[in-house]
């Protein structure tokens, strides 16, 4: 992990980030989502998942096709999107379960600013791979219109399940839906 260097520039950045998160929390609305049922939906037609080649926060290039033969949960999110932030803790808990069952999780941040993403994630002790779609090209090429959205890719590389909006990812039924895709 990189160390934060608290120069004046960093301090300014930190203040902006903190202020931003407070603002984002205020902007948040989806209270009703918490009371909603938890499930993933079958994706119509099970289209092939478009491959991507994106950097993680350490600059390593990660391809979706590197995980062919595995079930992969792909989540698109952004630091400034309230329901995206809300689902991060449950996603980490789900990752703690799924990584031991040979299921991959890739969280793709839509938009740039690596430092902002890294600072945000340190607050949540996230250790699943986070990739950066700085120019939004991957996000715009996938079947998605808003954030957050998640897709579960089956071992054949097809989008089998999707969730539009946030979820509690460690829900037993949803974990079972994901694991049922394993061959």
């Amino acid at each position: 992990m990189r160390k934060m260097n608290f120069t004046a520039g960093r301090l300014q950045h930190l203040i902006l980030i903190v202020a931003f998160f407070v603002l984002a929390a205020f902007v948040a609305v989806p209270q009703a989502s918490n009371a909603q049922a938890q499930f993933l939906h079958k994706m119509d037609g099970k289209p092939l998942a478009k491959d991507f080649d994106l950097p993680d926060l350490d600059g390593n290039k990660i391809k979706l096709s590197d995980f062919k033969g595995k079930v992969v949960l792909v989540n698109f999110w952004a630091t400034w999107c309230p329901p995206c932030r809300a689902e991060i803790p449950s996603m980490q808990r789900a990752w703690n379960i799924l990584k031991d069952k040979d299921v991959m999780l890739l969280a793709i941040h839509v938009g740039g600013n690596e430092d902002r993403v890294w600072t945000f994630l340190t607050d949540f002790n996230v250790d699943f791979p986070v990739l950066l779609d700085a120019n939004s090209k991957v996000s715009r090429s996938w079947p998605m219109m808003g954030l957050p959205v998640s897709f579960v890719i089956d071992p054949d590389g097809r989008i089998a399940l999707q969730a539009i909006g946030g979820r509690e990812w460690d829900d037993e039924k949803m974990i079972a839906q994901i694991l049922a895709l394993k061959k």
Binding site: T7, A8, A19, L23, A32, G111, S136, M145
Partner: protein, 184 residues
């Protein structure tokens, strides 16, 4: 190095901290019927400017959004709670804004993209703006929803009625929210 934090951002920060406890402001509206669930509330101009300055917009462009956008925060989705409940399609392009005897349309992502092209806005804020705005059209399965900002493009303080339009199992549904007001 000299700190150059925009004044409006700091003022908004302080103000928001002091007011962030209650999400349900007097202008907060909640609606759920015929498959649609919706929560909507106006955002103050300071909040809008702070939000977009935080997303790399210039102070000038953030002020432009705040002064002309009539921005509301929203969460909209499918009210169904069971897997077999009908699908819902939300089409912002069909919503009608009725104000002062005139009827107008929602200023969608696509319309804003034309504005940003004319104002020569950089790529990073344009990307953030696109994803921050509520999708123009989206299908929702039960329990699905999106979060996003909606721009009604009226002057600050304008009052208006909003006719919502959505499809439930392919059949068009409408409902009018009366007496909404853009923040001052």
């Amino acid at each position: 190095m000299k700190l150059k934090i925009p004044l409006v951002f700091l003022l908004s920060f302080v103000w928001v901290i002091s007011s962030a406890n209650g999400q349900e402001t007097p202008d907060f509206r909640k609606f759920s019927d015929n498959g649609l669930r919706l929560e909507i509330a106006p955002l103050g101009q300071d909040q809008v400017q702070a939000f977009f300055i935080g997303r790399d917009f210039s102070a000038r462009d953030a002020r432009f959004i705040a002064e002309t956008g009539c921005i509301f925060r929203s969460a909209i989705g499918n009210a169904g709670k069971n897997a077999g409940d009908p699908k819902v399609t939300v089409q912002l392009g069909k919503w009608l804004i009725k104000s002062g005897g005139k009827t107008r349309m929602v200023l969608t992502r696509e319309k804003w993209a034309e504005i940003w092209a004319k104002r020569k806005v950089e790529e990073s804020p344009k990307i953030a703006f696109h994803w921050a705005l509520f999708p123009t059209i989206q299908n929702y399965n039960p329990s699905d929803y999106n979060w996003g900002l909606i721009s009604f493009a009226l002057p600050a303080g304008s009052k208006f009625d909003l006719q919502l339009v959505w499809l439930r199992d392919g059949i068009e549904q409408t409902h009018t929210l009366e007496g909404l007001e853009c923040a001052k």
